[in-house]
Amino acid sequence: MDAYLITIGTLIVIYAITVYGLNVIVGYAGQISLGHAAFFGIGAYASALLTTKAGLSFWEALPIVILLSGLIGIVLGLPSLRLREDFLAITTIGINFIVEALFLYVPYFGGALGIGGIPRVFLFGIKLKGMAFFLLCLSFLALVIFICWWFTRSWGGVACFALREEESAAASVGISPVRFKLLAFVIGTMMAGLGGALYAHYMRFISATDFSFPMSITFLSMIVLGGMGTLWGPLLGAVLLGILPELFRPIVDYRILFYTALLLVMIRFQPAGLLGEGSIVRKWLILKPAGGRP
């Protein structure tokens, strides 16, 4: 396959992994997050630092990176328990700016220069490049999709959906809002951490601006476009918004304007996303309703 296609494909897959995490938080648990790029960045920086400064391999670093992302996810997810939706939106934006600023101004994180010389990933002694790395990312994506699928069918998933729809009714049947909102944050930020780690070892050079607020908007646009809370929506969204800028080079500079417009259009005309209930695509495909499975 063409190297150019592999490059785009790899990035799309990495974004998709990250966006599946956002979907758990926003789509499954109904907690708005406008700072998902921060967790993507935490995963990337953690893996970059552990492999460059601490001398670990990608595989040794990965469990630490994922755990760390989840832990920070819990701490930063705590506000979601107390805040109303609009405040939560602002708080998560704030988290994104703070994390980006830390990357930028703390010398240990490489400052404005970022971190370079991030090693490639080896598997069984083989250096994964191009197609091989793409396949590695694809395997992780498959795992992430499987976890999401399993989650929607587990008690945890049903509890999250119930909370999202009628929080007080859910609490009245014994579902702890604290526990399941945090669970969603942990799963979601772990996935973002995984995506970030893959991103760091793919780009091999990262800097704070890769994880700034516009990236969060891009992630959110992907799930809104594809279908929030659906199983395949995040993938569709990541593919469409990953390809679009390649097809229309001129819009690259206006990306955020475009995404914002897209968000508004989708929310106005297709609030459930392209794959959501009652969407045009579903009608085209004459899919059966997801039987309550959002």
Partner: protein, 236 residues
């Protein structure tokens, strides 16, 4: 005493909805709270469940102080509510809605038997099993809310205007069901109902609420004969 509420105060900002209401419910009793629109009935029930915070007051359940516990812990103590306007989970299927009712209890109760029993009471729920709850009619959603509360085999059932949106025949059926559950299975029920006559008819005792204050209380049969209560709530 199964449930003891003392000196309950509920307020929404400046709106004082409940001002020092006390009442109690013995194990196996069916007790009604009646009162006009806006009297504070829903506020009391939600205050007991923990859905709205209490400004003041105490709630004891089986001798245990529930006041500091959040709603989900009170639910685990064995309290279930059929909330005003059903509040089913719209995008979950009927079956999943029922499953939320036994969250954390799946291994402690005989689920297949309870489901069979509920499907017998509300056949429509079996028929619509896989359908999102949002697609049910208002009356069907009420039935689902009742089933979701009953599937867990609660110790105390709180019912807030279950007849809302139900056709008369079903209202009779539901009242009949509540009376039977109370009589035959000894289920303790706290009932709020717009139709005061119907609710008094199946209750042992009742409390009459007026703008957040309890103005009468006593055996249901006596309240039904009380000229003042009759004039205001029973439409005579």
């Amino acid at each position: 005493m199964l449930l003891e509420a003392s000196g309950l105060h509920v307020a929404y900002g400046d709106v004082r909805a409940v001002n020092g209401v006390s009442f109690a419910l013995e194990e196996g009793e069916l007790v009604s709270i009646i009162g006009a629109n806006g009297a504070g009935k829903t506020s009391i029930l939600n205050g007991i469940m923990g859905i709205v915070p209490l400004r003041e007051g105490q709630i004891r359940f089986q001798g245990e102080d529930l006041t500091p516990l959040p709603a989900y812990r009170r639910a685990r103590a064995g309290i279930r509510i059929v909330p005003e306007r059903a509040r089913v989970f719209p995008r979950l299927s009927v079956y999943e809605n029922l499953m939320t009712g036994v969250y954390g209890l799946k291994n402690k109760i005989d689920l297949p038997r309870r489901l069979d029993w509920l499907y017998g009471l509300f056949p429509i729920l079996k028929e619509r099993n896989r359908q999102p709850a949002a697609t049910l009619s208002g009356g069907e959603q009420q039935q689902l809310a009742i089933a979701r509360a009953l599937v867990s085999d609660p110790k105390l059932l709180i019912v807030d205007e279950v007849s809302m949106g139900l056709m008369p025949k079903l209202v009779d059926q539901v009242f009949d069901l509540l009376a039977r559950l109370n009589r035959e299975q000894g289920l303790s029920i706290l009932l709020v109902e717009q139709n005061a006559m119907a609710s008094l008819a199946i209750s042992r005792r009742a409390y009459v609420l007026e703008t957040g204050v309890c103005v009468h209380s006593g055996p249901a049969a006596e309240l039904m004969e009380d000229p003042k209560v009759k004039a205001v709530y029973l439409g005579h």
